[in-house]
């Protein structure tokens, strides 16, 4: 007890830290006639350039064809009007680089980083990948086969797939329930015509942003990009699909029990709905979550790891999307500790509502998030990431520029209001991946159980 008290005193005694206010470096934004948005930010400390493009072509656009956005993003690299897949891979690798494409729920994108001297060689290839993909049949067939095998392989790792089960359980058939990498059945059905259609409908200049950050001259870069991308026009009419997720109240607690016969531990998530990216209280919510499960001394990690030794790590997080969001606590423990670990996680979570946050804890969390903030925007790649996120989610520069001010402005009363407003208290939802035979009875304690085998296709 004495040690505990002295710690609190220590953390009060330390003054509120003041870093030199961290600001977003100046950048330029241009919109071409075809609607393409371009962000340019010069950063000359290292002779490299980061190139990031985002498309309004995320997995929420998949419809019934789960995995379409993700597969299409990768298929951009399978060949273009002027380059084969092997040529694309070889050119990027030769210059010490690689070209990455990916999909998330809200958007898909392309990312690469290269030495400034190689700009002229690589930009035309990037342009072709974005605007002239040909989706050659032989490459699609090869990748489809491996993709399906990878979906089986992924389920060897409960930690890798639990998020897809969680979103499916919470969002059900609404777009945010779509598993980004699809399921075996839908990937099997994907063909060249569908991919081309998805591409033409969703990857287009008027809903694309490119962010270039690094060692270059903005005027020169601007004219190069204009030359390359001005002729990118898609004649297929654009469908404005503004389907928004309509949050429904969860009426009761539910448990999604995923049986993995050979599991020796239970991997679990507990939570409910969170907040969309547009929420103005994001930063404050993050500060509170830091206390609950966002750092080593967070309540969850302290109780489940440090005190009880149940797990290597326990955390909590708000995952925010364009029009929806989730909140979850996540950890894993040996099968025999499943019940005490879940009980302890819930008990610890409830401290938020029962005791709330005190001054010393809030001050520590504020210092922590402020201290850890600048390294998140240290590289050209992370700045390019921010600029493209800004485009997708409509973030303001003030997110970075006023971060410290916003954090400093938080009060204990305000913090406890944030808890009441945003942290789901009742009707919590649970996903448990483990050996069902050993934990089936335990699962019933937490809500209505729906059981599924991990080997079953999908989530």
């Amino acid at each position: 007890m004495k040690k505990y008290l002295s710690t609190i005193l220590l953390s009060i005694v330390f003054v509120s830290i003041t870093c030199a206010q961290f600001k977003l470096p100046g950048y330029e934004v241009v919109t071409l006639d075809n609607g393409l948005t371009i962000y340019l930010l010069e950063k000359n400390d290292v002779p490299i350039i980061s190139f990031s493009a985002v498309f309004d072509a995320g997995a929420i656009r998949d419809g019934a064809q789960n995995g379409m956005a993700s597969f299409t993003a990768e298929a951009l690299k399978f060949g273009t009007k002027n380059y084969t897949k092997n040529q694309i891979d070889s050119i990027f690798n030769f210059y010490g680089s690689s070209l990455n494409t990916y999909a998330r729920l809200d958007y898909s994108g392309l990312y690469t980083q290269f030495m400034k001297d190689d700009l002229e060689k690589l930009l035309p290839v990037i342009k072709d990948v974005i605007t002239n993909p040909t989706f050659p049949e032989d490459e699609l067939i090869k990748r489809k086969q491996r993709w399906i095998a990878e979906l089986d392989q992924a389920k060897e790792s409960p930690r890798q797939v639990i998020g897809a089960y969680y979103n499916k359980f919470l969002f059900a058939e609404s777009p945010y329930g779509n598993p980004v990498d699809g399921i075996k059945k839908t990937i099997e059905q994907i063909d060249r015509v569908q991919i081309s259609n998805f591409y033409l409908k969703n990857i287009r200049s008027e809903s694309c942003a490119i962010a270039v950050v690094g060692d270059f001259d903005s005027d020169k870069m601007k004219s190069e990009l204009k030359n390359l991308f001005s002729d990118w026009r898609v004649t297929v009419p654009r469908l404005i699909d503004d389907s928004r997720f309509k949050k429904q109240d969860l009426k009761e607690s539910g448990v999604y029990l995923i049986n993995k016969d050979n599991a020796t531990e239970t991997t679990f998530m507990i939570g409910g709905f969170g907040v969309p990216m547009s929420n103005k209280d994001q930063i404050q919510i993050d500060v509170i979550n830091t206390i609950l499960g966002g750092r080593f001394t967070s309540w969850l990690n302290d109780e489940l790891r440090v005190n009880a030794g149940y797990t290597y790590g326990a955390r909590s997080r708000f995952a925010s999307y364009k029009t929806a969001g989730t909140f979850y606590i996540s950890t894993y423990t040996q099968t025999k500790n499943t019940e005490p670990a879940i009980d302890l996680a819930i008990k610890t979570y409830n401290r938020l509502f029962e005791k709330g946050i005190d001054e010393a804890t809030l001050k520590s969390a504020k210092n922590y998030v402020k201290g850890q903030f600048p390294p998140g925007y240290e590289t050209a790649g992370s700045l390019a990431g921010f600029l493209t996120q800004k485009y997708i989610y409509g973030l303001e520069d003030s997110y970075i520029n006023d971060f410290e001010k916003t954090v400093d402005g938080m009060t204990v009363d305000g913090a406890n209001e944030i808890i009441k407003k945003y942290f789901p208290k009742d009707n919590l939802q649970f996903v448990l991946i483990g050996k069902a035979e050993d934990i089936r009875e335990i699962a019933k304690k937490y809500g209505k159980v729906i059981e599924k085998n991990i080997s079953e296709d999908g989530f």
Partner: protein
Amino acid sequence: MKYILIFFISVVSLFGQVKADDVKSFTLKNGMKIFVLEDSSIPNANMYFFYNVGSRNEYIGITGISHFFEHMMFNGAKKYGPKEFDRVMEANGGSNNAYTSENITAYTDWFPASSIEVMFDLEADRIEHLNFDPKMIESERGVILSERNTGLENNPLEQLWQETQATAFVAHSYMWPVIGWESDIKNWKKEDLENYFRTYYAPNNCVVVISGDVKFNEVKKLAEKYFEPIPSGPKPRSLHTIEPEQTGEKKLFVKREVPSPYLMITYHVPQSGSEDYYALDLLNSILSEGESSRLYNSIVDNQQLALEVGSMYPEAFDPTLFYFYGIANDGVTAAQLEKAVLEEVDKIIKDGINDSELQKVKNQKLMGFYRTTETINGMSNTLGTYELFFGDYKKMFSAPDDYKKVTADDIKNVAAKYFTKQNRTVGILNTEEAQ
């Protein structure tokens, strides 16, 4: 971390981004060596502590204790009791982590530069006065067992790796996993930890690197105040075990239910900094860096035999292993995948590599170096790793010449020299053993 050093080596003198003069150093009276790199691009800094101790310093009965010890370094000292190290650090805007390998144990603090003195105070306390609270030892045992279990549960390759190492080595302590064997984790005693602390955690067995928005003179003053009073210890006994030459191919099988087989192939190779190091390291990149690499292009992309394939040449103080690994595609047997990997190896032994491949690898190293220098974290980790594995951080400035000297023939020759059947161990993990 294993790739970072090389990036440093291959470019520093060529491109003048970071010069030897930019890194300043001093040695305290107790033997602790400290490197400082001033960089004010963000208002933050970091501190790395590299201790010359890892699982290679263990013996049967205490396997995994280096890693366990790493965890105990966060569990209380004299001024800052259990939990206080993390609480005080986080309340001052800092965060930390640590890692243990076969060779070294490294601790890192990341913090706003204005909090630097608190970091010195926290570190000095635990380096000099670490305390072993029996309650903390027991809860930490549970944490480690969970860490071990979750690694094996989520990654069949980790299980195969452990078994392959244990088969490839017969004498050297590289034979056991860094995390240790379960029965040892459950049974080591407080005395074992105290003994380990006394033997290896003296300031003269530690290299410190500090990068970020700091001033050399200020760092030196703080180091003299907080670290210099810590008494030095006797030099730990050096390891004398030499792995005997492997006298024939070894094969092993691990039974585990998986959708498709896992493969691992190893060859004994020399340690970091040895004569053949640079050629072997370039060979590693040729084999597995990027989609155009030999293994990926042929086995995953063209032949569709694997979902994943790779190679690895880890940094090591002593002769180590060169690893090949892969996960078979659906319907592909372990034997087919093994044959495909060995064919790629044979191609290099027989036909060598072309000039464009050699140039590609050098470009990849250069790009990797730039990525490293983008962050103060990359800089600190690289500097320290270099100092430990190559003996002197300054050697990195002469290393570009060593890389330049590597020819396509050298790469062909090291492949022929080390990738022999006699020197090989082949591990397969699968649901059922092939008939």
